[in-house]
């Protein structure tokens, strides 16, 4: 799995958190700049693209409000992803209550994936994008956290509320399915 470079990222985050606690507001800016894009990408991959800016902002606001209690047991990014995921789930629940949508995971990701084709210039990228869009929500989430964000299976398990072993299985099943979809 990932080795030295992850450790250096965590050290920088810890340093910035400590500086912020000591009153350096620029450290807050640095922390947001380091993680905002990844959070937006993750939130978008969960099907909340239109609300990504709002969810990302809410994530950081909640995180900074609790930063005094962040123990560093997980990486800061993993913690941020966990907060963002909960916010997305809450949004879905509220949407379901308002619109009586049948299932938390029945967000029409396939439609959204088709609609976003136009943002991808490369035909090959569009094909892969479409193939990933056909994955189940759980497989897609695990697959993208591993490929896009480089989270370990342990970190993925912490974010998605599953086990390390299950995350590994989901990843390899997803990869196999994407390959099959591309060969169709």
């Amino acid at each position: 799995m990932a080795e030295d470079l992850t450790g250096r990222d965590d050290s920088l985050d810890s340093s910035l958190i400590q500086r912020w606690k000591e009153g350096d507001e620029r450290a807050a800016t640095a922390l947001v700049e380091r993680h905002a894009a990844a959070l937006a990408r993750y939130v978008g991959s969960l099907g909340e693209r239109d609300a990504a800016d709002e969810v990302v902002q809410d994530t950081f606001v909640r995180a900074f409000a609790s930063l005094e209690h962040f123990r560093g047991d997980s990486s800061l990014r993993t913690w941020l992803f966990t907060i963002a995921r909960r916010l997305v789930v809450d949004r879905r629940r509220a949407f379901r209550r308002r619109r009586e949508v049948g299932n938390l995971e029945d967000v029409d990701a396939a439609t959204e994936y088709t609609a976003l084709d136009g943002l991808i210039a490369s035909e090959a990228q569009r094909k892969v994008w479409g193939a990933v869009g056909k994955l189940s929500p759980t497989q897609r989430e695990v697959f993208l956290l591993r490929v896009n964000e480089g989270l370990s299976y342990k970190e993925i398990a912490d974010v998605a509320g599953t086990t390390e072993g299950a995350a590994r299985v989901h990843y390899h099943n997803a990869l196999r399915t994407v390959k099959e979809n591309l060969n169709e």
């Binding site: 080795e3 470079l5 990408r41 693209r49 800016d53 990302v56 943002l119 991808i120 892969v128």
Partner: protein, 177 residues
């Protein structure tokens, strides 16, 4: 596209792509990729996934996010701080008022000029007539005035420290949870 049987190398491909491997591990993976078509194709697939998602990353306004963050409190937030310390403030003001009256009495006792003593007494009575000195009630104090008052009060070691959850100094107040 088939799967290479070398699971260890395949598990490292996402980290190889993200530049998260040590030099030694990166070299191992590079050597394997040079001779394994399956892993080279899998790496290319993962690369396409990353590129596709980077192209569709929703935009976020970093400045707006930073502006919305709670500020690291180096000074008390005056509105809620004032509310939570209202009892302490009131007790301290009473203390100052009583102290001022005592000072006026002492000065009048030692004063050479009866007129000066009278002026001091009148001034202290004015202070004592209103719960808070300067412009009326406690709520009329500006944040800077309250902060200055509290700063001065905190320098008086005789003042008790009362937190909202602590039992009140007097017999009134709600029970702690």
């Amino acid at each position: 596209m088939s799967d290479c049987p070398n699971v260890e190398i395949r598990e490292l491909l996402p980290d190889y792509l993200g530049g998260r491997l040590s030099d030694v591990r990166r070299s191992e993976v590079s050597s394997h990729l040079a001779s394994c078509q399956d892993c080279a194709e899998e790496l290319a697939l993962l690369q396409l996934v990353r590129q596709a998602y980077e192209a569709t990353t929703p935009a976020v306004n970093v400045s707006a996010i930073v502006a919305a963050l709670p500020k690291k409190a180096t000074r008390p937030v005056m509105r809620s701080w004032r509310r939570s310390h209202a009892f302490q403030i009131a007790a301290a003001v009473s203390f100052i008022t009583l102290g001022g009256i005592s000072l006026a009495v002492a000065r009048s006792f030692f004063s050479v000029s009866p007129d000066a003593a009278l002026v001091d007494t009148v001034a202290v009575n004015t202070v004592g007539d209103t719960p808070i000195s300067f412009a009326g009630g406690l709520s009329d104090l500006g944040d800077d005035d309250v902060e200055a008052l509290i700063t001065a009060l905190e320098s008086i070691e005789a003042l008790p420290v009362v937190e909202p959850s602590d039992p009140p100094l007097s017999g009134t107040g709600r029970q702690g949870s």
